[in-house]
Symmetry: C2
Subunit: 193 residues, 2 copies
DNA sequence: GTCTATAGGCCGATAGAC
DNA sequence: GTCTATCGGCCTATAGAC
């Protein structure tokens, strides 16, 4: 279907060249269509961006659902967030959202939902580990995981990887503590590292 | 001086409207000059972006030096990284760097230097607190601080603030442990919260 | 250093044929 | 649904006057 081909092309250009390069002409060229057709399916370019964002979000939440259905939701979410393909698109959409109100609202809603998923996973992990959720607010744990994965992905885009092994090891240590231990077993968990 | 006025204007547009909006015409208009003058000082727009990046980096490293000269470098760096004005420019430059090799190299070098500053601050804080730097790699601690401040700033751009108070409180808790305590005093530090 | 003028290109969006 | 053709606009960069 042409509509999907247009979205595929737009996604590729957005990922590879940035939002400024996503023009109706270039999208059409990549999709092997004529530019008029882009305007046939999407009255404006803003509409195209919004449709693409929604498609990306659907895939994203489908993956979140799979992760939360696994035995260790928090660890599954962490591994999901270090997938290198997602953050590049995400960065472009956030940059676009800065000066596009409708996209801003859409992406804010999505970020909010994602945060709740992470917080819920962190909360159940904390409870299982017998740790205080008031000392370690689940939402804050989720934000830390999110944050460190963003640093890792931005670094990768810039061609840096110094400190990455240490950071990943630290996160794994903390995840192990949450999944393996209750308070009393913390020392054992530490010795695993 | 016209050159500085041009850079000021470019910086304002980059911050407020994104890199796609930084054109020689618009820069000139904001600076109250004619567009030809922009090309007189900067042969190409790429040159302008590079010059602006270098100016921003100089200010950034001046602030880093001030922070590391303070009594609590790690805490000073944390407060610096939550300053809302810096990350918006930073995001735009990273987005630009994705498809501009010279900017990519420049910003990668700068990110690398910044990381070392954070890691050094984290290392001395860990040593003062009597904590193992092999269990908690300083560079990873720095990356966590960096990451959480990025999540906070991205959220702010999107108009979100749920979980922010919790995340900031958690970071402050951890910073307090590092600055106040040695191992034995951890319990006291926790009770302060 | 600062200006006017302009070449040459890509852009979004539309009109209207088939 | 798909096409050709085109308008009007903004862009970078340059030539050349003062």
């Amino acid at each position: 279907m042409s509509r999907e081909a247009i979205l595929d092309a737009a996604e590729a250009i957005l990922r590879d060249e940035g939002y400024a390069a996503v023009s109706s002409r270039k999208v059409a060229a990549v999709a092997g269509l004529k530019s008029k057709l882009v305007h046939y399916y999407f009255k404006t370019m803003d509409e195209l961006f919004l449709a693409l964002l929604r498609r990306v979000e659907e895939q994203h939440f489908a993956e979140l659902r799979k992760a939360t259905a696994s035995g260790e939701p928090l660890r599954a979410l962490w591994h999901l967030s270090t997938d290198p393909t997602v953050p590049k698109l995400h960065k472009e959409f956030v940059a676009l959202a800065t000066h596009h109100e409708q996209l801003r609202q859409e992406i804010a809603r999505s970020a909010q939902r994602t945060r709740q998923v992470y917080a819920a996973a962190a909360e159940s992990a904390l409870i299982v580990a017998g740790l205080s959720t008031s000392m370690f607010p689940p939402v804050a744990i989720g934000m830390m995981l999110d944050g460190i994965s963003r640093v890792l992905s931005t670094d990768k885009i810039l061609g840096l990887d110094s400190g990455h092994a240490d950071a990943i090891a630290l996160v794994e240590t903390l995840l192990n503590r949450l999944s393996v231990s209750r308070c009393e077993e913390t020392t054992d968990a530490q010795q695993q590292i």
